[in-house]
Amino acid sequence: MRCVYNRLPVYTGDISGVASALYELGGLIVIHDPSGCNSTYNTHDEVRWYQNASRIYISGLKESDAIMGNDAKFIDDIVQVALDQHPNFIALANSPIPYLNATDFSAICKKLEEILDIPAFYIPTNAMHDYTHGIALAFKALASRLPFENYAPTKKAINILGVTPLDYTPRETTTLLKDIFHDYEVLSIWARDTSLKELQRAASAHVNVVVSSSGLRLAQYFERTYHIPYVLGSPIGDFKNVLFKAIEEAMTTGKSQNPLLNKEVSDEHIIIGDAIIGHSLGNALYTSYKMITPLEESKRIIRTRDLASKDEEEIEQALRKAQTIIGDPMYQALTSTPVRALPHLAFSGRLYLKNMPNILKGGILDEFK
C-alpha cells in the first residue's frame, strides 16, 4: 500500500539531500524547521559531521512564530550568523510547516541579499521527497546563481555530477574518480572535495558525466544553458569502457548519451537502488537484469520492465523470481533469497558503515558475480 513502511525504512529525505549537496562549499545552509531535521541529517545521513565543520543550521521555528508569520526573527537570526561567520552564500531549505503556511522564501532571500550583499537562494524542499530530489534542487539552485568563470582547460574537460556521500560514501571516492578519468581534466565534482571556486569553472567543461541520478537535473541545466552534453553512467567495472566511448561520442557530436539502457530486462538478476549506479553495475555484471528503484530522480532512467516503486509489496513481488539480488542489506526483510550486500548510506544509514564497499574499486564486483 502507498505510504506504508512495515518492514523497510524510508530513504534519506530531500532536506538532508540539500545539506549533503552543499556541505563543503562554505555556504550558510538554513533549514526553516522547529527541530529534528538537523539531528536526523547529521546522525544518519552525514559521515562528515563530526570531523568537518559546515554551516548547516535549523531556524528553531516556534509555533507562535509560524502562526503569526514572524519572518523577521528568521531573517534577523540569519543575518546575525552571516555577520559572524561570513559564508560564501546563503541557501534556505523549507520544511512542512513553512511549506503549509506559504512562507515567502524568495522575498526573504531578496531581503537577505539587500542586507548582507551575499548571494541568497531558496531550495523548495518540503520534507515529502527523497534525497535525490533535494540534491537535484540544490545543485540546480546553486548553478543558477553561480557566476561561472571562463576557464581554458589544458585537455578535454569534464565535470562529474552527482557525487555525495549519500551514494558514494567511501572517503577515497573522488581520488578514485579522478584516477579513472585521468585522460580528462576534471574541472569539478558536484559536490565533494571540490571548492566553490572549482565549481565556478564547470561551465567550461566539454562533457558532464552524471554518476548518480541526483546529478541529472543539473546536467540538463548545463545542457540547456551552456550547451554542454552529458553522459549517464558510473565507471563501475568494465562498464567504464562503454562510458569512455560514450563520453568521446558526446564530445564529438555535442549530443548527450545514455549508454545505460541497452541490455535486456530479466527477473533473474535484480539490482535495487539508484538507477545510474544500478544500471552501471548491471551492465558490468550481467547480460540481462532488472532494475528496481524507489528513488524519485531515478524514475526517468529505467526501461519498460524495470520497476520504479517505493511500495514494499510491489518490490517484494518483483523479488520473488530473482536468483541474485544486489542491494542494501535491509532489503533482506522482503525476500528469502540472500541479498548481496551493497550498503547504501541513504537507506541503511550508519548500520553498515564499517563494511561499506567501494563500488568504484574493481575487486568488489567479483563478490556480486
Binding site: 500500500m1 505510504c3 506504508v4 513502511y5 512495515n6 518492514r7 525504512p9 524510508v10 530513504y11 534519506t12 529525505g13 530531500d14 532536506i15 538532508s16 538554513v30 522547529p34 527541530s35 529534528g36 531535521c37 538537523n38 539531528s39 536526523t40 547529521n42 546522525t43 544518519h44 559531521w49 563530526y50 570531523q51 559546515s54 554551516r55 543550521y57 535549523i58 531556524s59 528553531g60 521555528l61 516556534k62 509555533e63 507562535s64 509560524a66 534577523d76 537570526d77 540569519i78 546575525q80 550568523v81 559572524d84 561567520q85 520544511s95 512542512p96 510547516i97 503549509l100 503556511n101 518540503n126 520534507a127 515529502m128 521527497h129 526483510a333 541503511s348 544509514g349 548500520l351 558503515l353
Partner: protein
C-alpha cells in the same frame, strides 16, 4: 568567537540568545522512539513526511526494533485533498492487518502538520478503536513545533505511554518511572532504602507486558527526571498512587531533604546522614588527591543538576572550569545564584548556538557528560545521561568514582557520543 560567559554575567533562566541552532553530533539522550519502546510488546506508528520519518525509523533500526515500528509517509496530495483522517485510518488499519499478531499497545505519533491542519484525531482514534478493540491506542505526538512554548513530545509521551495501566489493588511496591536510566542498590539510596525495608522497586527495564500492567499495584510513584515529572504526576493522579519528584542533587543538605522526604512518605525511620557524609568526605579527599587541579567540564546531558554538581565540586576545591547548558532549569536557580556570588568565574557555554559549530577544546580537561566530552574534545569523560541512575549519598559516591575512572581511562568520544540512546541495544 568565544561563546563562554562568566556565570557572574549570566541571566537566569536564559543566559544566551539562541537564534539559528547547531546540532552537535551527540545523541546519547533517549528520543521518543527509545522511550516508547519501554512499553513491552508495543509497536509505534509514525505518520509524517519522509524527512521527519527518517530519524525515527533509523532510531528503531539501530536499536534492532524494526519489527516494532511502522512508518507512514504523508504526500502533498494527502494534504491538499483534505483526507488526512482517512489516510491515517486506512494506512494504520492496513499496517496492523498485515501483522501476524496484533500488539497490545500501538503508540500513534501524528505530527505538527496534523495539528496545524486541525486533523480530527478523535475521529481517527474512535474508528481505530472500533476496528481493533483489543489494541490500546496511545495518543502520542511528534510535534517539535510546540516544544519551546509548551511540553516537548517526550514529556507528553512519558504521560500517555502508561495509558494501558489501570488502577489495581495497591501493594507495598514503588514504581520508579519517567526516566531512562536504571537505579541500582549500589548507585541509588532510593533502591537501597526500599530494598532494605523489603519493598519492591519496579523499573521499566526487562519487563514483560503483564509486569507493565502490574505497575497499577504500586502504592508510590517516584520520578527523578524533570522531563518525566509531568507525565508521572499525571499517572499517579489517575492511578491514585502517592507521587514524589525527587531531584538527583549532590549537596548534602538537598540529599538529606530528598531522602528524609522519601522515608517520611514510606513511614520508615530516617537514615544516619552523619555517617554517610563522612564516607562522602573521604571520597572527595581521595579524588582530590588523584586528580588534583585537573580541569573539569560538566554538561546538562549528564545530569539534570549540572550547576549543583559544579557547586559541590567547587566547594570541595576541584577545578571546575565550565558548565555546558542552553538554559538554567528552575530547580537549579538557587545553585545559579550561589555560584554567581561565590564562584563568579565559572563559565557557562551553550551547546546549540550556531557559533558553537566552530568551538573545539584542546582535549586537556575531564568531562562529565557526552556533550562536554565532544566540545572539550577529550578522551577522559564520564559517559552518563540523565544522572546515570545515581541518587543520594550512594549517587554522589558513584559520581566521584566515575570521575576517578574517567581520569584513569580513555575512550574515543567520536566513536561513542554519536550513538543514540545510551543503554539501548545498538547495532552500530
Amino acid at each position: 568567537m568565544k561563546m563562554s560567559l562568566p556565570i557572574s554575567q549570566a541571566q537566569y533562566p536564559n543566559p544566551f540568545t539562541i537564534g539559528l541552532e547547531f546540532n552537535p553530533p551527540v545523541h546519547e539522550t533517549w528520543n521518543i522512539v527509545h522511550i516508547g519502546m519501554q512499553v513491552p510488546e508495543s509497536i509505534q506508528i509514525y505518520i509524517c513526511a519522509d524527512n521527519c520519518l527518517r530519524g525515527v525509523v533509523m532510531t528503531a533500526a539501530e536499536m534492532n526494533a524494526m519489527d516494532r515500528f511502522i512508518g507512514i509517509t504523508i504526500e502533498e496530495r494527502d494534504i491538499f485533498d483534505g483526507h488526512l483522517e482517512d489516510q491515517m485510518i486506512e494506512t494504520i488499519t492496513y499496517a496492523l492487518n498485515k501483522r501476524q499478531h496484533l500488539p497490545p499497545v500501538a503508540i500513534i505519533f501524528p505530527v505538527c502538520l496534523h495539528k496545524f491542519l486541525s486533523v480530527d484525531l478523535n475521529y481517527v482514534y474512535k474508528k481505530l478503536r472500533a476496528t481493533f478493540p483489543t489494541v490500546v491506542f496511545v495518543e502520542a505526538y511528534m510535534d517539535p513545533l510546540s516544544q519551546k512554548e509548551g511540553l516537548a513530545p517526550d514529556q507528553r509521551l512519558r504521560k500517555v505511554m502508561y495509558d494501558s495501566i489501570q488502577p489495581l489493588a495497591q501493594d507495598d511496591s514503588i514504581a520508579l518511572l519517567g526516566l531512562e536510566v536504571t537505579h541500582t542498590y549500589e548507585t541509588s539510596d532510593l533502591v537501597a532504602i526500599a530494598t532494605d525495608h523489603q519493598m519492591k522497586v519496579h523499573q521499566l527495564q526487562d519487563m514483560n507486558y503483564q509486569d507493565f500492567l502490574n505497575l497499577g499495584h504500586a502504592k508510590m510513584h517516584i520520578c527523578t527526571n524533570p522531563a518525566g515529572d509531568y507525565g508521572i504526576q499525571a499517572l499517579s493522579k489517575r492511578l491514585n498512587a502517592h507521587y514524589l519528584y525527587l531531584s538527583p542533587c549532590f549537596d548534602y543538605e538537598s540529599i538529606q531533604d530528598e531522602i528524609d522526604c522519601f522515608c517520611d512518605e514510606l513511614n520508615i525511620s530516617h537514615v544516619d546522614h552523619h555517617k554517610r557524609r563522612e564516607a562522602c568526605e573521604e571520597a572527595f579527599s581521595h579524588l582530590k588527591q588523584v586528580i588534583g587541579e585537573k580541569v573539569i567540564a560538566i554538561d546538562f546531558v549528564a545530569t539534570p543538576r549540572p550547576l549543583n554538581l559544579a557547586r559541590v565540586l567547587l566547594e570541595h576545591g576541584f577545578h571546575v572550569k565550565c558548565v555546558y547548558l542552553d538554559t538554567i532549569f528552575p530547580e537549579e536557580k538557587e545553585d545559579f545564584l550561589f555560584l554567581q556570588k561565590q564562584f563568579p568565574d565559572l563559565e557557562l557555554i551553550p551547546t546549540i548556538h550556531a557559533n558553537m559549530r566552530f568551538e573545539m577544546g584542546e582535549g586537556e580537561s575531564l568531562a562529565i557528560g557526552p556533550k562536554a566530552a565532544y566540545f572539550e574534545n577529550t578522551k577522559h569523560f564520564v559517559n552518563i545521561i540523565e544522572g546515570g541512575g545515581f541518587f543520594g549519598y550512594r549517587g554522589l559516591l558513584s559520581m566521584l568514582k566515575a570521575i576517578e575512572e574517567a581520569y584513569y581511562t580513555t575512550k574515543d568520544p567520536a566513536l561513542i557520543v554519536p550513538q543514540k540512546g545510551l543503554g539501548c541495544e545498538c547495532l552500530l
